[in-house]
């Protein structure tokens, strides 16, 4: 067996089934596509993929998205050029239903490129209202524009700015998605190099905390904030959320991040001797072996005042 990165061994105590975890990490990741319902029906997408000799399997928890075998190349197809579907990992489909954007609202996607989640938001809003998709990286912002154009999105504005310093006069927003840069450990099945990154580096965590704090500041009272990473590292997940919860006190609370038909673990309420707010149990940890996916973390927050 290939050696697992040493960085992962520290999760032994918090994974329910270590053998299954290790075994899942060694398998290649299935490919996933979701239907752009502005342009096509799930049945059309399924038929188009089948006509290309692929074998789409609807996801257990989302019938408009399909799983394909790991080596599939759904990007090199006519229906893809026509914007009938988008190719995106299954775990990346979790945050937007939890954000639950509504038609006509003003939504901010603070770290948006290359735009897979922006697109899900825009489609859920029926191509109306306002999605502001921001990223700090100009090259990645270009990829975001490519996503908007291919999927035919008419309700997205793109901006190039440091999200941690996003101008306050741009707000308030009804909902904010903060899909932060992270150590990407959960991408291990796609890219073994990711585990070389130092998970939980203080500078990175400081950046994530600043981004989440800004997101809360930009959200209207009563509005919702979703924080997401693709890493296992508690320093970048529960600890960041805990820090921001403490800073906001009663003005901010966690809502349950649960999706029916998708298996997840509750968030940690303790790590390395640090006790966290008990409500962190409401966050969602996704281990690869639970649903045969990548790794992920989501927290759903509601601003009270």
């Amino acid at each position: 067996m290939e050696r697992l990165p040493a960085a992962f061994t520290r999760y032994r105590a918090i994974v329910d089934d270590w053998e299954a975890f290790v075994e899942a990490l060694r398998r290649p990741l299935p490919v996933c596509v979701w239907t752009n319902t502005l342009r096509a029906t799930p049945a059309q997408v399924k038929a188009a993929l089948e006509a290309e000799g692929l074998r789409p399997e609807p996801l257990a928890w989302r019938r408009d998205a399909f799983r394909l075998p790991p080596d599939s190349q759904p990007g090199n197809r006519l229906a893809y050029v026509l914007g009938h579907y988008h190719v995106q990992e299954e775990v990346s489909l979790l945050p937007v239903p939890l954000l639950d954007p509504q038609p006509g609202e003003r939504i901010l996607d603070l770290c948006a490129a290359p735009g897979g989640k922006t697109a899900q938001i825009a489609v859920r809003m029926q191509n109306r209202g306002t999605v502001v998709a921001n990223d700090r990286n100009p090259l990645r912002l270009r990829q975001l524009s490519g996503t908007i154009e291919r999927l035919g999105l008419l309700n997205v504005t793109t901006t190039l700015h440091d999200g941690a310093d996003f101008p306050l006069e741009s707000g308030p927003f009804d909902r904010v998605l903060v899909d932060v840069p992270c150590s990407c450990e959960g991408n291990f099945r796609k890219d073994q190099k990711v585990a070389d990154a130092f998970a939980g580096a203080p500078e990175l965590c400081g950046q994530q905390t600043a981004l989440l704090h800004r997101a809360v500041t930009l959200c209207r009272p009563g509005g919702r904030i979703v924080y997401a990473t693709c890493t296992f590292a508690p320093e970048e997940n529960e600890l960041v959320v805990d820090t921001v919860l403490r800073r906001w006190g009663t003005a901010l609370r966690l809502l349950p991040a649960r999706i029916e038909g998708f298996r997840g673990s509750p968030g940690l309420t303790e790590w390395n001797g640090r006790r966290l707010h008990p409500s962190l149990e409401r966050t969602l940890r996704v281990w690869p072996h639970l649903n045969d996916t990548g790794g992920f973390f989501v927290a759903v927050l509601e601003r009270q005042a």
Binding site: T130, N155, T159
Partner: protein
Amino acid sequence: MNATPELQQAVKIVDPTPYFRYLEERFGIPPATFDGYVLVQPGRKKVYIVTADHRPPARPRPRTIGLPFLRIYLKFPKLSTAAAQQFGHAATRNVIDTDPAQAEAFLTRRDFHARPTQLTRCTGRGYVLVRYQGHTLGVGFLVPEDAGGRVESMLPKSWARDPDSFRLSVE
């Protein structure tokens, strides 16, 4: 529908009349196709189309707003590929229905030859919409020849498929 105050604050609103008239003349697209949308110009060369209820921030300054619609300051404004795919279904003139080999050429950015029978709805040299199985793929440039015409693929590089691996024709 009028632009929201936020949209007016954030970006230059464009009078759509001449552009809609051009699209109606060349492609037969009725201006009502664009009801509920507003044309804006965030930069120099491109006009964008966005939902009329859109409320973007003025700061940070928007890079793009909605979907690229037309490249302007050309001899004839050019409809973007994104707009062609989005609104091309409404066109009735200067539309070419392609066979698999022609569509494959178009999507891999190669010119293709159109037969005279395929040009019955074309009015002459200039932009055409290229369709395949009822879907608008994008914009071509038609150069009439003795028998039929040559259609240049105006598909941007970023949209193009790899000619070595992309296939529409069934072997």
